[in-house]
């Protein structure tokens, strides 16, 4: 490719995560080679040995900040990136590993490791927006690959990505899935969870467990009251709000209202990340 060096550059970065969100890029089997023809993938260690120095036009960041070294690394990534997009619940809300924010300092490390002193790990897992400015947040655990392609395409052409902020509930109605909450009294977070997955769980008869995090307008207390009334115990409700997006403000507050432990304050509390955009 003769004009290869003039193509816009894309970088993919990993922090504490499961690699599932960046895998979503490799899962774009039909589009991957086309994409590689219109952008230069300059840094993506899961895919390539070759890396080129920044600055990068678009950086995709997966994972949360959990180590002192990563607190510094994310600053470097921000400085090297024109647009920084966070992908997935780890990067936008701290992920499942954010559950440590509710435990006593050091308790988790001592459970897993014989020598916690060997481990350079923070007591908190925080989203990227708690550390640097973020241009766009894409939600989901994992993200949806069609949404990812939309975000990359929009970012490259300098327009705002078209990603809806309404709830899973509306998507069930659109695809004609019978409401589990009403018909089966199933505990379902669909009314307060951001759309994006295509309402997958209700389609298999399972209540939504909130993997895309809170929708733009999420009335969690009204849903919680309904679920309590239908017989879901408080502890179960607290756990339901406390998984991959446990530290997203709307879910965090509701889990605390249901009696879950409050986050232990250690300097910087989990930072609000409810909007689609950090700035």
């Amino acid at each position: 490719m003769s004009n290869h060096n003039e193509l816009p550059t894309l970088a993919v970065w990993k922090f504490a995560s499961c690699d599932g969100c960046q895998l979503s890029l490799l899962d774009c089997e039909d589009e991957l080679l086309t994409l590689a023809g219109v952008v230069r993938i300059s840094h993506f260690t899961e895919m390539s040995r070759a890396t080129t120095a920044g600055p990068y036009d678009v950086s995709l960041v997966e994972g949360s900040i959990t180590t002192p070294a990563d607190v510094h690394r994310i600053q470097e990534v921000r400085e090297a990136s024109r647009r920084l997009i966070t992908i997935g619940a780890c990067a936008t809300a701290g992920g499942i590993q954010g559950l440590r924010n509710f435990a006593a300092s050091g308790a988790y490390a001592a459970t897993v490791y014989a020598h916690p002193e060997y481990i350079a790990s923070l007591d908190t897992s925080t989203p990227i927006s708690a550390h640097v400015d973020v241009d766009f947040e894409l939600h989901g655990c994992p993200i949806d690959r069609h949404q990812l392609l939309e975000v990359i395409t929009a970012s490259l052409s300098g327009r705002r990505p078209v990603i809806p902020g309404h709830s899973v509930c509306q998507e069930c109605k659109a695809r004609g899935t019978v409401c589990l909450l009403v018909s089966q009294k199933t505990a379902c977070l669909g009314p307060v969870t951001r759309t994006g997955c295509g309402a997958l769980c209700p389609a298999v008869g399972r209540g939504c467990f909130g993997c895309f995090g809170p929708a733009d307008t999420a009335n969690t207390s009204s849903l919680a009251a309904t679920l309590r009334h239908q017989g879901t115990p408080a502890i179960e409700l607290s756990h339901l709000f406390r998984t991959f997006n446990a530290c997203a403000p709307a879910f965090l507050e509701e889990s605390v209202s249901q009696g879950g432990p409050v986050p232990v304050t250690r300097g910087r509390p989990p930072t609000p990340t409810s909007g689609e955009e950090g700035r």
């Binding site: 991957l32 260690t45 040995r49 070759a50 481990i119 997958l200 756990h239």
Partner: protein, 434 residues
């Protein structure tokens, strides 16, 4: 980066690519002998074994899936197996077959990712699959086509490719209808043919002449290639239950790693994964896979770690053939899940993740609340053997230039498809010679 001064040469690289996770690697050579090798894992710990405590036993499959986005089904299946063991529940064979189909989807997806996107570029001298595609687009497109079909199985059975939503302790939320499973047959026939072409393609690569002295550990199943269950067995005669294996595995926490190193008590390091499965269960491969293995010249046991790519391709043929036969004989399980009532007990589950044996053990109370969790991923079990491999590979390749030796080391690590996100991304390779 490379620099030399007098009799000392040292090579270091920031970041071993095309693996899942962050770590580093050091090799030291004194007077022509490898004296120290260390695979260091710096993946930030995520403390799953701690955060599971206090959660309900039904949450383990979805929570542990988030340990690894490349092999979530493995985590879901081992978690389900452990919880069902704790609650003394055996699931219906139709549920088991649907699990096996879902698992074949993950093997197809993960093996194709590794063969085409992560490993083949090493043999052909390319930085990545994009560069490979500039020279042989048809090959990469073939790989992506197979991978897509693996994902299609996971979407059809599990609802989604990364972190499926349809799996529950006891079985599935909803059994896919017969038509949607039947629609997988045609794509699977294409995948099977493309997988056969894959074996021929990789069998033609150049392989460094290296042979490891491996102790293999894999599950063994009756009459079939073990995937979603079986008894842990070893090449030196062990045969035991998953619980007994859990009792034998000693995990050490060493200073250089956020992963725990596993040994079997009192014995040497061991290897799990494709080479081990093939060595122990090769006779139970499906017919086309067995043919492909002999055409590729594999023999009954393969001890050249570089040829693991051929074994993986043979397993890819197996997974396609097996999935096709499961699709053709599919009857929806009814009910789609067994009822699992919690009781105070400890349960152990072991299944064959694409990278090797994955063990889960949980202690739950009578209400089903998790009291203790232990997860032993394949990469922690393989880490000591990967280090032994590096020693062997470097010792046999000291005539290579710094750059070539470094690439060879990276390749030696990638031979075992390590999932560092599982074990605890970023391998930093240093070769110090004096």
């Amino acid at each position: 980066m490379s620099h030399g001064s007098g009799s000392t040469r040292s090579i270091s690289v920031d970041g071993l690519a095309r693996v899942e996770g962050e770590g580093s690697l050091k090799v030291e050579v004194h007077d022509g002998h490898v004296t120290d090798v260390a695979l260091e894992i710096f993946e930030p710990p995520r403390y799953f074994e701690a955060l599971l405590v206090g959660r309900h036993f039904t949450e383990a499959p979805d929570i542990t899936a988030r340990i690894c986005g490349i092999c979530p089904v493995a985590y879901q299946m081992s978690a389900c197996a452990a919880m069902e063991d704790a609650c003394a529940v055996t699931v219906d064979e139709r549920i088991n077959r649907l699990r096996r189909l879902l698992y074949c989807g993950e093997w197809i997806q993960s093996h194709t990712l590794h063969i085409y996107l992560l490993h083949a570029p090493d043999f052909l001298g390319y930085a990545d699959a994009v560069e490979l595609a500039e020279h042989d687009r048809a090959a990469v497109e073939r790989g992506l086509q197979i991978k897509r079909i693996g994902n299609l199985i996971m979407e059809t059975v599990g609802g989604r490719a990364v972190h499926p939503v349809n799996v529950r302790v006891g079985g599935f939320y909803r059994a896919p209808d017969a038509e949607s499973i039947a629609s997988l047959a045609e794509p699977l026939r294409r995948a099977r043919d493309a997988a056969l072409a894959t074996v021929d393609w990789v069998a033609g690569f150049d392989f460094p002449d290296v042979s490891g002295d491996y102790r293999f550990v894999a599950l063994r199943d009756v009459g079939r290639y073990a995937v979603e269950g079986g008894r842990p067995s070893s090449s030196d005669g062990l045969d035991m239950s998953p619980a007994q294996l859990a009792g034998l595995i000693v995990e050490e926490h060493v200073v250089r790693s956020t992963a725990l190193h596993a040994r079997l008590s009192g014995r040497d390091p061991y290897l799990t994964g494709p080479l081990a499965r093939y060595g122990l269960n090769g006779s139970s491969l499906t017919p086309l896979a067995a043919d492909a293995a002999s055409r590729a010249g594999l023999g009954p046991v393969c001890t050249n770690p570089f040829r693991s790519i051929v074994v993986r391709a043979v397993e890819l043929v197996f997974a396609c053939e097996e999935a096709l036969s499961l699709v053709e004989s599919y009857t929806p399980p009814d009910p789609p899940a067994a009822v699992v009532t919690p009781r105070a007990a400890t349960g152990t589950g072991a299944t064959e993740a694409p990278r090797g044996l994955l063990l889960h053990q949980y202690e739950i109370d009578a209400s089903g609340t998790i009291q203790r969790a232990r997860i032993v991923p394949p990469t922690s079990q393989n880490q000591l053997t990967i280090e032994a491999d590096l020693r062997l590979v470097v010792q046999n390749a000291l005539d290579l230039s710094d750059d070539e030796l470094q690439w060879r080391c990276e390749q030696a690590v990638r031979n075992h498809d390590p999932c560092i996100s599982c074990a605890a991304h970023f391998l930093d390779i240093t070769v110090v010679s004096s």
